[in-house]
């Protein structure tokens, strides 16, 4: 049989275990699956993970030694807290460089501010509110940029503004006469494009989509009638995704904000502003879809999985990809060089691949203390929640809980992936302001204010 031959050929010609990852990749395997090589590179480049400095001017007390897993018990008491902890931490991972610094933060803030600015991330904890304020004012950058939000919302397929090649492909399919199995494997975006275009032609209009609920119902019925058998799942999928026809493809508000932010971006060490600017120009003057002129971003490269045959999806991907690369070339080659001669390839790719997920977190407009560093401080206070009972208790589980939360936020900031804490509901992070997290570990809940 054909298949067994394939495998026989395969198994006999197998090379010794190939493609297996190296030791370093294996060590970080479980996190690489979350943020991939780009995130890991960011962690390594940044000082926190490739290199960290622990600033602490105090000596280890008995209470510290009982409370901190990285101090060496009684042996550490009386020694420098920074040095003892760095010893304990350094031993965790020899690929990371740790430095102890015994200066006082007040002294650093008054005379060596620039030194603080050399770090990618500064985490302050249990510090006096004045110090937090000073740090925040000094360090908080204008914008935190997020390139890969890993958003679970679907990418735009631009059904309502189909590019010409896709439209042509959709209209060319002989729906009534084609093979019934092929019919059951037409990818749903193609069905939607076809149905919408037919709907428009009947009305002799070039744009528009069903808008009233009756029209929408009738449109879904139209898709249902296109089935040639009662259980064609791809048509069921199309019916379920019909909302894409009447959801106009526009530039998301978060990206619109970035456009405003970078409209006059001049010189910048990062290529990101140049890319945003290029995107902006592309959106204003999309040369590839002249009939719809403005308001569109380049297509994203990822197609969601859908019921279809390999051939049909291959055909669709090909149409999509050719268009995508045209879009991308227009967006990057067309505009970027004018702004910035040197755009790093991989970053360009990331921006283009993820542009619907790009979010900007603007400079905090309320008070500077509402920073990620404040997250830890506020939470310690609320967590104990019983300040009269334990005015200065810093219990290990609460500390570990907060440490974990802060570490999650730091990772999100450094990798520029996932969405950091923001004010209000986690889902409505559109206002881009960072928030304060409160933690109650009596009844065990967290909240963001």
């Amino acid at each position: 049989m054909h298949e067994s031959q394939t495998v026989e050929r395969l198994t006999t010609s197998l090379e010794p275990p190939s493609g297996a990852p190296d030791a370093k990749t294996r060590r970080y395997d479980r996190q690489l699956r979350l943020w991939a090589a780009s995130g890991q590179a960011a962690l390594r480049i940044c000082s926190h993970f490739g290199h960290f400095t622990l600033l602490d001017s105090r000596k280890v007390t008995g209470a510290d030694a009982g409370n901190n897993f990285f101090l060496d018990g009684l042996k550490s008491v009386g020694k420098s807290r920074a040095e003892e902890a760095v010893n304990g931490l350094r031993e965790l991972n020899d690929g990371v460089q740790g430095v102890a610094d015994t200066r006082d933060i007040k002294q650093v803030l008054s005379s060596q501010k620039d030194w603080l600015k050399t770090f990618d991330v500064v985490v302050a904890h249990n510090a006096h509110p004045d110090i937090i304020d000073d740090l925040a004012a000094l360090l908080w950058p204008e914008t935190h940029l997020l390139i890969e939000s890993h958003s679970e919302t679907a990418a735009s397929l631009r059904i309502d503004k189909a590019f010409p090649a896709l439209l042509e492909y959709a209209m060319s399919l002989p729906l009534d006469t084609m093979d019934i199995t092929d019919h059951a494997h037409i990818p749903y975006p193609v069905i939607l494009v076809r149905a919408l275009e037919e709907w428009r032609r009947e009305r002799q209009q070039a744009t528009g989509a069903p808008s009233t609920s009756d029209e929408k119902k009738a449109f879904k019925e139209r898709i249902r009638k296109m089935m040639r058998k009662f259980d064609e799942e791809n048509f069921e999928e199309a019916e379920a995704q019909a909302w894409r026809c009447w959801t106009p493809t526009v530039v998301p508000s978060e990206i619109q904000q970035l456009f405003t932010l970078y409209s006059s971006s001049s010189s910048s060490p990062s290529s990101f502003p140049a890319l945003v600017s290029a995107l902006s120009q592309f959106a204003q003057n999309n040369p590839a879809s002249p009939q719809y002129t403005s308001g569109l971003l380049p297509l994203t490269s990822g197609l969601p999985d859908m019921k279809s045959s390999t051939e049909a999806i291959q055909a669709e991907k090909k149409v999509f990809k050719e268009y995508l690369s045209k879009d991308v070339d227009d967006a990057s080659c067309g505009y970027v060089p004018q702004k910035c001669a040197c755009v790093e390839g991989s970053e360009r790719e990331r921006v283009e691949r993820n542009q619907p997920g790009i979010k900007g977190a603007n400079k905090l407009s309320m008070q500077p203390r509402e920073t990620a560093t404040h997250l830890a401080l506020a939470a310690v206070r609320f967590s104990v929640g019983q300040s009269a009972r334990a005015p200065s208790a810093d219990i290990p589980t609460t500390a570990a809980f907060l440490g974990g939360l802060v570490a999650q936020e730091v990772i999100k900031m450094i990798t520029k992936q996932y969405v950091p804490i923001s004010a209000g509901d986690a889902a409505s992070s559109g206002d881009g302001e960072l928030g304060v997290c409160v933690v109650d570990l009596v009844e065990t809940w967290t909240g963001v204010i």
Binding site: M1, D179, I180, T181, A184, H185, K229, D231, E233
Partner: protein, 220 residues
């Protein structure tokens, strides 16, 4: 200490405890004893004390697979019903949704399995495959193509595969139910026909293995 504890320890509490029954085991007991199967489906337990491994025989009484007896093995693991039962066809059959290795394409056996489903739903789902084979979700691609492109040829293949023919180099398992029609009058009983199912009215159909046994004694 939270209140549910008293400070005092009771040292010998452990001794009387019996080894417990797993949730999977009780769930299988429940599923099996509450099966509601039509006469076209029968379970068989090679070891009646082992509820986790058994076979199911489906003898469709209509459709293109009428007359066949199709065997499936069920293997249930201790993580049931979190994990679905593992079901395989133990014969080589010509069916668009069953491959030559016995793998079965049935959504509730994989992607759509959930713990609220039970063995009854799986069995009914399997029978449905014989009443309504689905050419759009093929596992045996050639059979599926034949079914959608040349239905007459497909039916011919189904019938001959069920007789145990060799089609395009594949030897199929004979799955036909052997039936012996016995005419019973007051004192005598004699066998008048040995035949295959489609020609015999279904009310005469009894379990095939009994009749194979009868057939042997007849030859003697």
């Amino acid at each position: 200490m939270i209140k549910i504890w008293s400070m005092k320890k009771n040292e010998d509490a452990a001794s009387k405890k019996k080894p417990k029954t797993s949730a999977a085991q009780i769930r299988v007991q429940k599923d099996l004893t509450e099966l509601d199967l039509p006469s076209t489906m029968k379970t068989h337990f090679p070891d009646p004390t082992d509820l986790l491994n058994f076979t199911l025989t489906i003898t469709p009484d209509e459709g293109m697979y009428q007359g066949g007896a199709f065997n499936f093995s069920f293997a249930i693991n201790t993580n049931y019903p979190h994990d679905p039962p593992k079901v395989k066809c133990t014969q080589t059959i010509y069916h668009p949704n069953v491959d030559l290795e016995g793998n079965v394409c049935l959504n509730i056996l994989r992607e759509d399995w959930k713990p609220v489903l039970n063995l009854n739903s799986v069995m009914v789902g399997l029978q449905y495959l014989f009443l309504e084979p689905n050419a759009d979700d093929p596992l045996n691609k050639e059979a599926a193509q034949e079914m959608s492109k040349n239905r007459d040829q497909f039916l011919t293949h189904v019938k001959s595969s069920m007789r145990g023919s060799n089609i395009k180099g594949v030897q199929y398992t004979s799955v036909l139910v052997l039936v012996i029609v016995a005419l019973v009058s007051s004192f005598r009983c004699h066998i008048v026909a040995v035949s295959v199912y489609p020609f015999i009215p279904s009310y005469l159909l009894i379990e095939s293995r009994i009749h194979i046994h009868a057939l042997r004694s007849c030859n003697d």
